[in-house]
């Protein structure tokens, strides 16, 4: 049974349609929710949390009926919002303890658990400072801790890595991966940072203009339509391509300067030898011979642009 199942969901804000006939199923694992600004990502998240009423359609979240069992649904969900949300005057540990109490943990247990989770998040003595004095990174960590402190089944992170330095970003992504792989949590990450999705997600869901325009496993999306090998050439790429073509290979140059050899995924010794032979002949050097994969950025842009063009054509 899917964790989230939505059928023909529509959400209107007066005359504006935020979600348009959305149907999707989400399984366990980490799902990346992508989409341009105004695509309906936040509305979808609020809808899952039961914070907004659907205009039409039906669905179930974690086995509970959408629109009816909001409280039960929120009992099982941990949500980290994009915006800062805190109560001024409280310390970091108090915010996390308060969140735990709101979710139903007894006071003492909530405090113990808050410390435990802040340790997990790498927060040290700064947890005792008032949250008003925190840097963006510290606030992100506190929000993250507040989202997971009550041990929810399903986690929703809205732009979790925004404002983090590279080291903290990697640490946070590792924590999310750990929560999913070892603690069995299912995660929905809404983000604009595509490398984050590439790094940890199992599935990708792209929304555009209130519609689901793509939903697939990341490994399927990464796979190219025809098997291809790519490598970079230090030297004259056109000579190299001509040489490879003479050897019966289909070589093309990509926009980033790499050469793509279509027709194979297998970096065999024979193929490497033929590439090096061509390099020797043309006086070039070859770098990083790898099976090609579609970049998420290309997929995202092409999908979103296709939707826009289709909408324009229809109107």
């Amino acid at each position: 049974m899917p964790l989230i199942s939505l059928t023909n969901i529509t959400k209107n804000y007066r005359s504006m349609r935020a979600l348009d006939d959305v149907s999707l199923e989400m399984d366990a694992g980490i799902t990346g929710l992508l989409g341009p600004n105004g695509a309906g990502k936040s509305t979808l998240i609020k809808l899952i949390l039961g914070l907004v009423k659907i205009s039409s359609g039906s669905g179930s979240i974690l086995g509970h009926r959408l629109g009816r069992d909001g409280r039960q649904i929120r009992n099982k969900i941990g949500y980290m919002p994009e915006d800062d949300c805190y109560i001024p005057g409280m310390s970091g540990v108090e915010v996390v303890q308060f969140s735990a109490c709101l979710a139903g943990l007894p006071q003492v247990e909530a405090l113990r658990r808050a410390h435990e989770i802040l340790d997990f998040c790498g927060m040290k003595q700064e947890r005792y400072r008032t949250i008003d004095t925190y840097s963006t990174g510290m606030r992100q960590k506190t929000k993250f801790a507040a989202a997971i402190v009550h041990d929810p089944e399903f986690l929703i992170f809205d732009e979790p890595t925004s404002g983090l330095d590279p080291e903290e970003r990697e640490a946070l992504l590792n924590r999310i991966k750990l929560l999913s792989r070892t603690a069995g949590k299912s995660v929905l990450i809404s983000t604009h940072i595509l490398p984050d999705v590439q790094a940890i997600c199992d599935d990708v869901l792209i929304l555009s203009q209130g519609k689901v325009v793509l939903k697939d496993r990341l490994e399927n999306l990464n796979r190219t339509t025809s098997p291809t090998i790519r490598f970079r050439v230090l030297g004259d790429a056109s000579l190299m391509m001509a040489c490879l073509t003479e050897q019966g290979l289909t070589a093309t140059q990509k926009f980033d300067g790499q050469i793509a050899l279509e027709g194979t995924h297998d970096v065999s010794d024979d193929l490497v030898e033929r590439i090096w032979s061509a390099a020797r002949t043309t006086g070039s050097t070859v770098q990083s011979i790898t099976p090609a994969r579609n970049s998420l950025e290309e997929i995202f842009l092409s999908t979103v642009n296709a939707t826009r063009e289709a909408t324009h054509a229809a109107s």
Binding site: R71, D83, D151
Partner: protein
């Protein structure tokens, strides 16, 4: 790595009941409000009037004893003029005669507010209930004068940030992404000012009552005054619902708590100021000082009294303590009911608005 870092562990405890979730909102709100130095000072001073009223109860109880000379003894000890002592001696043990008491109250204490109300009730009421009436009157004035003014400032300090701060810091999502409903949030927040009001009015009033019982000749006095604690609780309800609702509604209308604070004081000052203006205009028209009964009891002044929240609260409490009939205060009851209802409806809509967007 922290010494006790245990990584991520599952939590398998028993969650608290859903009904009690509002308590965490209330306790957190009270704790944060109490961190203000000014609020702590006000809470300290809030109990000082108890001492003054306690002396009142003490004097009353001693005077009621059949062989008590406390009034004249005190006057002599204070070196008051012999004439005053002589006058007082004429009124020794006046509690046996309601007419005498009423006359004494009207003549000797006419500058004390609401003393006419007490004199009239003693004169016309059941003579065996004199102690009950005097206690009720003392507690009513305790509610109406020192504590009502203190509540005005206390609530003006603690209530304005309660919701406006949540709007400004977007703390709504902190609450509503958890299994907390809008009504629980509102009730939890309402309980914050209510808690403070109970602390500075109900608890001291009940303490005064217990003190008076202990000062009385024997505990059988309790049977003659059992209704007073109930009246205290009802007066508290009449006080907390409109004030807390109004204060939170004003807080929910803005992101800046200082605007809410300004609006709170303005609502009270404008309403009461308008009534005072009517009072003075009537006094000038009648050619009498404003505090004279003929002015205060005039139809114009009474009709415009509903403008003042302070008067409305006072009138309703006077009814609850049994000093005026309902016919005289129904406008006040309607006004306070309307203020509470409108405030709660607006508050609910304001709280619901940020979630739906």
């Amino acid at each position: 790595m922290p010494l006790h870092d245990v990584g991520y562990r599952k939590w398998q405890g028993q969650p608290t009941s859903q009904i009690s979730r509002f308590q965490i909102i209330t306790s957190t709100g009270i704790r944060l409000a109490s961190e203000s130095r000014w609020v702590r000072r006000m809470l300290f001073f809030a109990w000082l009037p108890v001492m003054y009223w306690g002396v009142g109860f003490f004097v009353i109880e001693r005077a009621m004893e059949s062989d008590s000379n406390i009034v004249t003894d005190t006057m002599e000890a204070a070196n008051l003029p012999p004439l005053a002592v002589a006058v007082a001696k004429q009124h020794t043990r006046p509690f046996n005669d309601p007419v005498k008491i009423s006359r004494l109250l009207r003549n000797q204490f006419q500058m004390i507010p609401q003393v006419e109300m007490l004199a009239f009730t003693i004169e016309t009421g059941d003579q065996t209930q004199t102690r009950n009436i005097v206690w009720r009157w003392l507690l009513m004035t305790f509610f109406r004068y020192p504590q009502a003014l203190l509540i005005l400032f206390l609530i003006g300090s603690i209530a304005p940030p309660l919701i406006s701060r949540d709007i400004r810091s977007r703390a709504f999502l902190l609450y509503f992404s958890r299994p907390i409903g809008k009504l629980e949030y509102i009730f939890g927040k309402l309980c914050v000012p209510m808690g403070f009001i109970v602390f500075v009015t109900t608890l001291p009033a009940l303490a005064l009552y217990v003190f008076a019982i202990l000062m009385s000749p024997d505990l059988s006095v309790f049977w003659a005054t059992w209704d007073i604690p109930i009246r205290i609780l009802l007066a508290t309800v009449a006080l907390v619902i409109p004030t807390a609702s109004l204060a939170l509604m004003l807080s929910s209308l803005t992101q800046e708590s200082r605007y809410a604070s300004f609006a709170w004081f303005t609502v009270w000052a404008l309403g009461h100021g308008a009534w005072v203006a009517v009072l003075f205009a009537t006094a000038i028209q009648l050619g009498r000082p404003p505090m004279y009964a003929v002015v205060m009891e005039s139809a114009t002044v009474k009709n415009w009294s509903v403008l003042s929240l302070y008067n409305n609260l006072g009138d309703v409490q006077a009814w609850i303590f049994g000093f005026v009939p309902f016919e005289d205060v129904w406008k006040g009851v309607v006004m306070l009911g309307a203020v509470s209802l409108v405030s709660l409806v607006v508050l609910y809509r304001r709280v619901a608005a940020p979630i739906g967007v």
